[in-house]
């Protein structure tokens, strides 16, 4: 089978579904752990106060996961989910490379750079 757009899309569609299932499983596991640990009155979401730094950096989240911190495990699941569209664009870059479509290798690389900038470099 030669490389064409349809093949890229099928490949990407399967990856996205797997990613979402994986993310949902991690979030659910973290959620069960969270609800067994926190039976008290619910947290206050009526006023914005920002989440602690442990939850807003990749190293903070990973550190928490190592210590079975429920909120960090949920956050890891959310990060896996946020990574699925990024992986999708990355796979398109590779797919267009196989198709030898230089213009669209460039177009999808631009989108990939914007996404990575938003996730890791912007503050």
């Amino acid at each position: 089978m030669s490389w064409n757009d349809k093949r890229i899309e099928t490949w990407v569609g399967a990856m996205l579904q797997t990613g979402v299932l994986l993310a949902a499983t991690i979030v659910l596991a973290g959620g069960i752990l969270y609800l067994t640990q926190n039976r008290g009155p619910r947290a206050d979401y009526g006023h914005f106060h920002g989440e602690p730094q442990q939850l807003t950096t990749l190293s903070g989240v990973m550190h928490g996961v190592e210590h079975f911190d429920a909120r960090c495990i949920i956050m890891l699941g959310l990060l896996v989910l946020m990574a699925t569209p990024v992986a999708r664009v990355g796979m398109c870059v590779v797919g267009f490379l196989f198709e030898r479509d230089k213009l669209y290798v460039l177009v999808s690389s631009v989108v990939l750079v914007i996404l990575l900038y938003s996730l890791f470099f912007h503050k």
Binding site: D5, E9, V12, G13, A14, L16, Q17, G19, V20, A23, A24, V27, G30, G31, Y34, L35, N38, R39, G40, P41, R42, A43, Y45, G46, H47, F48, G50, E51, P52, L55, T56, T57, A70, R71, C72, I74, M75, L78, L79, L81, M82, T84, P85, V86, R88, V89, C92, L103, Y104, V107, V110, V111, I114, L115, Y117, S118, L119, F120, H122, K123
Partner: protein, 276 residues
């Protein structure tokens, strides 16, 4: 209300939102923010963070089904994602600068517009001369129809690109998929076949939402314990919804959902203006 009951009620409500969103084709995201702010008194920033995550989940979750149909156009989607992701960065940046009341009013107006757009009929396809820019960018495709494949070429590329920037900004500012604006850009401005517009839009929604989700995460707008029930609920609801879709009476559903959205839109505007 303790943490467990709050999670259960929120999960069930989100499931309802996801179900309605899938059945009406507007997506669950558009009702999550009003639901959280009006019914659960959650701060709008946390609500937007939770909504963005559910938007990514439904978009990525439905992708495989859309690919099977064979209508989406990967090149059109990728090219326009340059506009939506840049727009999303601007929108997410604006959220931190604009007062909460203003976000509420803009949100209400977008809700009213989405309701209007979902019930009015779409344009008739008009064939114009192929746009040279579209040809150079290879924004073309073949739509599988009953009698063979129908070839199409995108029209008015700059107008579509500009509208996509706006769609991205709204997505970043309000935490919605802004599927309604994306479909307008492709269907109305670029004159792409309707099925191509809706399925390509679904693909783009996840990438657009991811561009602003990163900023929301880093700014501390994502509360794991709040996002947990919302994301699982919306995902479950939209999966049930897409299975029911074949049997449902779409026209009536759209009308009912449009009325719900109008009510939420008015409520958002009044709520923001009176400051209650």
């Amino acid at each position: 209300m303790n943490e467990l009951w709050f999670a259960i009620i929120l999960c069930l409500s989100s499931m309802g939102a996801g179900l309605l969103g899938a059945l009406s084709g507007l997506g669950g995201g558009v009702v999550i923010v009003p639901l959280l702010t009006i019914a659960f008194h959650v701060d709008i920033h946390y609500a937007i963070g939770a909504s963005l995550v559910s938007v990514i989940a439904t978009s990525s979750g439905a992708a495989a089904a859309y690919v099977r149909e064979g209508f989406s156009n990967i090149r059109v989607g990728m090219f326009l994602e340059i506009a939506t992701t840049l727009g999303a960065l601007v929108g997410a940046w604006l959220t931190t600068k604009v007062p909460t009341e203003a976000i509420g009013v803009v949100f209400g107006m977008v809700l009213l517009y989405s309701a209007y757009a979902s019930v009015t009929s779409r344009h008739e396809e008009i064939t114009e001369k192929p746009d040279p820019l579209a040809l150079r960018l290879r924004l073309t495709g073949d739509l599988p129809t009953g009698d063979g494949e129908q070839h199409y070429v995108a029209q008015r590329v700059p107008a579509g690109f500009g509208l996509m920037g706006l769609a991205g900004a709204l997505s970043g500012l309000l935490g919605i998929g802004s599927g309604a604006v994306k479909v307008i850009a492709m269907d109305q401005a670029m004159r792409l076949p309707f099925k191509v517009s809706t399925t390509t839009s679904n693909f783009m929604i996840g990438v657009t939402a991811a561009a602003s989700a990163g900023l929301y995460w880093r700014s501390g707008y994502m509360a794991p314990s709040l996002v947990l029930p919302v994301m699982l609920g919306v995902l479950g609801g939209s999966m049930i919804g897409s299975r029911l879709l074949v049997k449902a009476h779409v026209r009536t559903l759209k009308l009912v959902f449009a009325l719900v959205i109008v009510a939420l839109g008015v409520e958002m505007i009044v709520h923001s203006l009176t400051g209650k």
